[in-house]
């Protein structure tokens, strides 16, 4: 097991290096640089600024500098927001994105697993139909449209109640978390409930399920001890990509609901070609996702003994 985790972490580190390199060169391939975005600037000032940010050095040297700084955990200073370090920006805005993301993942997981199980239990009866239609709708409607619709509904509700039942946008209170989180998690929830339904159907017709019933196991005990534990495995496999999709998909929701998360800063930074912020956030997100995938892999082993023991031996 330790061996397995070590190997996963090592390949994770290589992946992060790859992400950093790809980001670095992709960004330097962009025509222009952050300084050309500024207003007309005398050559002297420009040279001074280039020297400050190291833009006057050859590309390879810049790359080496960036890499060594990154190893020390220093992503440099933002080009557009004077004197604000990238680390500060991440430290300030990532917790907001993370809170939103975690809430969305939880909603998607709990909702997807329960809806999928309910649909499988009521196969071809109306709860199943309702869930499947909702799933199809949620999969085919883009997230930003759902976000917009959610805002419309909130406004309509507030108008009907003639008070502010729910805030339309913003960040800070609990009620400002769960609506965006629901919107963010909805697509994933639909996807997961589809997987859950299929795997629960398989479990329901599996021999061990009938055998468990033949032992007299029933009700919630049957559900939690035998059915859920087996049926949830494919959902857990999807957890890594799911978290990736939710964290990176968060910035649309952040834009629409005016949430000051890291995603919004990323979009802004790309538009302004703020090298250091782009590099910092991309590498940070990449590292975060790699870590999540490793964690999900490990947790998969905890649920499925076959994988745990297999890995333990190898």
């Amino acid at each position: 097991m330790v061996n397995f985790i070590a190997r996963r972490l090592l390949s994770g580190l290589i992946t992060i290096w790859f992400i950093a390199t790809a980001t670095f060169f992709a960004m330097h391939a962009v025509p222009g640089d952050p300084l050309t975005q500024e207003k007309a600037m005398s050559p002297a000032v420009r040279a001074q600024l280039e020297a400050r940010y190291g833009l006057d050095k050859p590309l390879i040297e810049q790359y080496q500098l960036f890499m060594s700084n990154m190893l020390r955990g220093d992503f440099g200073i933002s080009f557009t927001q004077e004197n604000r370090s990238v680390n500060d920006i991440i430290r300030e805005h990532f917790p907001i994105s993370a809170t939103l993301g975690i809430a969305a993942v939880l909603i998607a997981l709990v909702g997807g697993i329960s809806a999928g199980s309910a649909a499988a239990y009521c196969k071809n009866r109306w709860p199943d139909r309702v869930v499947m239609i909702a799933v199809i709708a949620a999969i085919s409607v883009p997230g930003f449209v759902i976000a917009g619709l959610a805002q419309l509904v909130i406004v309509a509700l507030n108008n009907a109640a003639e008070t502010t039942l729910l805030p339309v946008a913003g960040w800070g209170s609990v009620s400002q978390i769960w609506v965006p989180a629901l919107v963010l998690g909805l697509g994933t929830m639909a996807y997961l409930s589809r997987i859950m339904r299929a795997s629960m159907l398989e479990v329901l017709s599996a021999d061990f399920n009938i055998a468990a019933k033949a032992k007299g196991v029933n009700g919630w005990r049957l559900f939690f001890h035998h059915q859920l534990r087996n049926a949830v495995l494919p959902v857990v496999t999807e957890l890594g990509p799911t978290i990736a999709a939710i964290t990176t998909g968060g910035f649309v929701v952040e834009l629409i609901f005016a949430i000051p998360g890291l995603g919004r800063y990323f979009v802004q930074a790309v538009q302004q070609l703020d090298y250091t912020v782009i590099m910092g956030t991309t590498v940070f997100y990449g590292a975060f996702l790699v870590l999540v995938v490793v964690l999900v892999d490990i947790s998969y082993g905890l649920i499925d003994p076959r994988i745990r023991l297999h890995r333990g031996r190898s």
Binding site: G148, A245, G249, I256
Partner: protein, 436 residues
């Protein structure tokens, strides 16, 4: 419905040469009502973007300033009026007895009322006459007249004059502005030859789906946008699946260290955060002046989306290589290229088709997403995603402008997904393709 294209069962080496026509197999699920409906939707969408612009010849970028954010409307006549901007009642006109309307058309509403004792500032409210309440306070003035030029439409309004200091309501009147177009605008649109040609009636075009916030015809824009969206949705997957297939096939056929190296590379590309890198690459490929931004978008998708099909094909090739019928044909002395053509290709083609049909909705989604955050096509080129981006700004006042393009995105994604599902079920059931 019978489909003979999907006749690709693994063949034994003895029958390698009689791979010809086998009786087409009926695929019941391919003909289910939902599938037929989805196919109809797809055909409709394709016709909508190809034949549509021929039937509906309005330009998607022409702005009708007199019809901004109009609801769906037929063609109607409007009066051409001269619009000199500022207005005050002429000295000759008498002091009105009550709230007097000097003019009421969709360009301006001119109000005039008697000077009231003790009131220093008037506040003018405008509201929907069918709803209770005063509506919006649109202006404060110390004059006893006012000209409203604020996004008027042909609805029944209630104007209320109140004392700005005390809040006391003074006068009210319901007004329905008459359809009008300024002479300047009318000339700009080519409806009249010269600007002093006022007081005549001209015909404004119909907008079956209304206009957007800049007065452009929604139907024409949806057709133009759909062309971009569907183009990207089909071409990008076509490119990246082809690339992925070639990459995967080479890796699988070469085997050994080439395969190992290639697959490590695939792992890394998969690990890249997709949307972040879509944005990065999209910006990196840049848009020159006058370009529409479709190529950078497709290139970015190509660079990030190929690994899925590469893995799929490599897995298939590896699985097939160890299949008895392939080994048997190798022993029988069949050459590599023949083997690929005769055995590999027929067996992986259905999977590629399925992958392709699922990639289309995904590509439509990605394009919509990028255009929505302003990283997609650049104006004046538009797409359904870009239309959504325009629409979300007026969401609360004119939800139609977001919902219409959203409906088209959802319809196409849904239809392609259902077709993909049916295709997968059909190929799964009838081919003995080995799952990698």
């Amino acid at each position: 419905m019978t489909i003979s294209v999907f006749r690709f069962a693994p063949k034994t080496w003895g029958s390698a040469d009689d791979l010809e026509m086998v009786a087409p197999i009926a695929l019941p699920s391919m003909a289910s009502p939902t599938v037929i409906l989805s196919a109809t939707v797809v055909v409709f969408l394709l016709l909508f973007v190809s034949v549509g612009p021929l039937l509906w010849q309005q330009s998607p970028s022409q702005q009708w300033l007199s019809q901004i954010s109009d609801g769906p409307s037929p063609a109607y006549s409007v009066r051409v009026i001269s619009d000199n901007g500022a207005w005050r009642p002429s000295a000759l006109s008498d002091m009105p007895a009550g709230l007097k309307v000097h003019a009421a058309n969709t360009e301006y509403v001119r109000l005039h009322w008697p000077v009231l004792e003790g009131v220093t500032r008037y506040r003018i409210y405008r509201g929907d006459a069918h709803k209770p309440g005063l509506g919006l306070a649109i202006a404060d003035t110390s004059d006893n007249y006012f000209q409203d030029r604020l996004q008027l439409s042909r609805e029944l309004y209630r104007y209320t004059i109140a004392d700005a200091d005390t809040g006391l309501l003074l006068l009210a009147r319901e007004i329905r502005p008459e359809a009008a177009i300024s002479a300047f605008e009318a000339q700009l649109q080519g409806l009249i030859p010269v600007t002093n040609n006022t007081s005549q009636w001209v015909e404004l075009p119909a907008h079956p789906l209304g206009t957007d916030a800049l007065g452009r015809d929604m139907l024409a824009r949806l057709m133009a946008g759909g062309r971009t969206s569907l183009f990207v949705g089909v071409v990008a997957p076509l490119l990246y699946i082809s690339f992925g297939c070639i990459f995967g096939a080479i890796a699988g056929l070469m085997g050994g260290w080439v395969d190992q190296l290639a697959m490590r590379f695939v792992d890394f590309v998969v690990a890249l955060p997709f949307l972040l890198f879509m944005i990065l690459f999209r910006v990196a490929f840049g848009i020159g002046p006058g370009e529409n931004g479709i190529m950078p978008l497709i290139l970015a998708m190509l660079m990030l989306s190929w690994p899925g099909s590469a893995r799929l094909i490599r897995g298939q090739v590896l699985a097939l290589r160890s299949q008895p019928f392939v080994e048997a044909s190798r022993i029988a002395g069949v050459g590599t290229s023949r083997m690929i053509l005769r055995h590999m290709l027929p067996n992986v083609l259905p999977m590629i088709l399925v992958a392709f049909s699922f990639a289309i909705p995904q590509a439509i989604f990605t394009e919509a997403f990028l255009s929505f955050i302003g990283m997609g096509v650049s104006p004046p080129t538009t797409s359904w995603g870009a239309l959504c981006n325009d629409g979300i700004k007026t969401l609360l006042s004119h939800p139609r402008q977001l919902l219409l393009p959203a409906l088209f995105i959802s319809l196409s994604v849904l239809a392609f997904n259902i077709l993909g599902d049916a295709l997968r079920d059909a190929t799964d059931r009838r081919s003995g393709v080995v799952r990698a």
